[in-house]
C-alpha cells in the first residue's frame, strides 16, 4: 500500500478547483434559490427547507462521490494509467485512493448543505444529524462504484456528459428534486434505485429512525452487483484478464 499514492490522489482531487467548486456549489445554489423562497412552506408534512435539504444533500453527495472515480477517464486518455501499469502499484491501492477521495469530497458537500439548511431554520438534534450523515455515506457506496466504472469505460471527452447525465437521472428518479413518482408502477421502480434511499436517508432520520429493510436491501444489492462489474471493467481496461 503506497500511502504517497493515496495522499497525492486526494491532493489532486482537491486541487481540481473547477470540478470541486461546481460539485460543492451547485447543490447549494439550487438549495438557496428554491428553499429560501419557501421557508415557511411544508411538503409531505415536513418543513420545506428540511425536505429540500435532504434532496439536495443526496444530489450533491452523489455528484461528489461519482466525480473522483470518473476522473480516471482523463488519466486514461492522457496515457497515465498505462504508465502506472508498469509500476508495482496495486489495483487495491488505486481503488482505496479513489474511494477515500470520493468520500472526502462527499463529506464537505453534505456538511455545506446541512449548514445551508440550518441557516434557513432547519433544526435537528445531534443524533438525527449523525444518523442522516451515516445513512447518506452508506447509501453512497453504489455511486462511488459507478464513478470507478465510468472512469474505466468512458472516453475522456465524454466524461462530463456521462457524469452529469448519470447523476441527474438518478437524482430525478430518486426524488432529490421532489417526489414526482409517488404511486403505482413508477413508485415501485424508483424504490429499486439507491438514490431513492439516499433521499430517504434524511427523512428516515427524522421520521422513522432508520431505513426500512427494503432500503438496506436495495443499497446492498446495488453494491454487490457493482463490485464485480467494477472489477470486470478494470480488468478489461488494463488487459489484466
Amino acid at each position: 500500500m503506497s500511502a504517497t499514492h493515496v495522499r497525492y490522489e486526494i491532493l489532486r482531487t482537491f486541487r481540481n478547483r473547477v470540478t470541486l467548486g461546481v460539485t460543492l456549489a451547485l447543490p447549494l445554489v439550487l438549495y438557496y434559490s428554491i428553499a429560501s423562497g419557501n421557508r415557511h412552506a411544508t411538503s409531505s408534512g415536513i418543513p420545506f427547507p428540511l425536505y429540500f435539504m435532504t434532496g439536495m444533500a443526496a444530489y450533491g453527495a452523489m455528484f461528489a462521490a461519482v466525480s473522483p472515480g470518473a476522473h480516471l477517464a482523463l488519466d486514461r486518455s492522457r496515457g497515465w494509467t498505462r504508465q502506472l501499469r508498469i509500476t508495482p502499484l496495486r489495483a487495491r491501492t488505486e481503488t482505496v485512493a479513489k474511494v477515500l477521495a470520493a468520500y472526502l469530497v462527499a463529506l464537505p458537500a453534505l456538511v455545506l448543505l446541512f449548514l445551508a439548511g440550518a441557516s434557513l431554520g432547519v433544526r435537528l438534534d445531534a443524533a438525527q444529524w449523525l444518523e442522516m450523515t451515516g445513512l447518506l455515506l452508506v447509501g453512497l457506496a453504489p455511486f462511488v462504484l459507478m464513478g470507478q466504472i465510468l472512469g474505466h469505460v468512458v472516453a475522456g471527452d465524454a466524461l462530463v456528459p456521462a457524469v452529469g447525465g448519470l447523476v441527474i437521472l438518478f437524482a430525478l428518479f430518486g426524488g432529490a428534486y421532489g417526489a414526482f413518482f409517488n404511486s403505482g408502477a413508477m413508485l415501485t421502480f424508483v424504490k429499486l434505485l439507491p438514490s431513492f434511499w439516499l433521499v430517504q436517508a434524511g427523512k428516515a432520520a427524522l421520521l422513522l429512525g432508520d431505513w426500512p429493510a427494503e432500503g438496506w436491501t436495495v443499497v446492498a444489492c446495488w453494491t454487490a452487483a457493482l463490485v464485480p462489474l467494477a472489477v470486470l471493467v478494470y480488468q478489461h481496461d488494463t488487459g489484466n484478464v
Binding site: S2, T4, H5, R12, R78, R82, I86, T87, P88, G239
Partner: protein
Amino acid sequence: MAVVNPQDAGIRATGLTKSYGSVRAVRGIDLEIAPGETVALLGPNGAGKTTTIDMLLGLTHPDAGTVAIFGASPGSAVRSGWVGGMLQTGSPPDHLRVRELVSLMASYYPHPRRVEDVLRITGVSDLAERWTTKLSGGQAQRVRFATALVANPDLLVLDEPTAGVDVEGRHEFWEVMRGVAAEGKTIVFATHYLEEADAFADRIVLIARGSIVADGSVTEIKAKAGSRTVRATLPGVDLASLAALPGVVGAERHGDAVVLSCTDADAALACLFAKFPEVRDVEASGGSLEEAFLELTAEEDSTRPAEGDKS
C-alpha cells in the same frame, strides 16, 4: 527449462507473435538479453518495436510465445518493482507538480533513487515546482526520463526515449544512461536513430516487419549486411544499367559522380571496369550502419511477396 538464479536469468522472449486484426505486428520474435546488457531495438516506424516492448512489459498479451523477465512473468516482475520504463506515449497526471510526480513514482518502487538527485541529474531542478501540465515538449520528456530514472529498476525499458529532444538534451540523456549501464542495470531501448544505437548499445536487434532481421554488435551488423560503397566518376551514364550490375543493390548520381551500394563489391568493380572503360576516380569503402540498416530492412521487403503467398 533449467532452474536458474534470478540474478543470472535476463530477459527471454520465445516465439512472440501479435496481430491486430489482419495486421501482423510481430511475427515470431526470439530474444535473449543477459543481465547488464544494453540492447537497442532498431527499426523503421511500424516495424513492431513498440508491440515487442509492450509484450516484454506485460502491457500486451502475445497471441503466442512467452516472456520471462529475470525468470518471472512480466506481471510478477513488474509487481516486484524490477521493471521500469518510459513508454512512447502518455503524459503525466494533472494537478501535480514535477517534484511531486517524481516522488510519487519513487514511492512505488522498493529501491528508488533520491528524488533531489534525479531532479538534478535530469536537469529539471528548476522545474520542480512547475505543474506537470505546464511543460514544453522537451521539458516533459526530461520529466518522463526523471520518473523512469528515480524508479531505479533492474530492467529499464525505454521506448523512443529521445523523441522530440534537442541535440544537447539527447547528449545529456545518454550521458546519464551510460552511468546507469555502468551500475550493471539491464537497458532495452527502441529507437530509429541509428547513431544512438551505434553509440550507446552493446548490441543491436534490427527489427523489420515484425521480425528480427539481424542481431549482433554494430560491427557484426555491418558485416552481415556486407555493405560496401563504390564511388566513381562516370558522367552521363544510365543509372538503371549501373543498378543492374552484379553485386549492386542501388545506384545514385551526384553530379558527374555515381555512388553504388554493393553486396559484392568485387563483382561490381570487375563488371564496372569491363562495361564502362571510361570510368575514373574509383574508390571503394566499407558501408555505414545506415546503409546496413537500409539493406537489411530492404532485403526483408524483396522476399516478402514469396513469403506473403504462404501466409
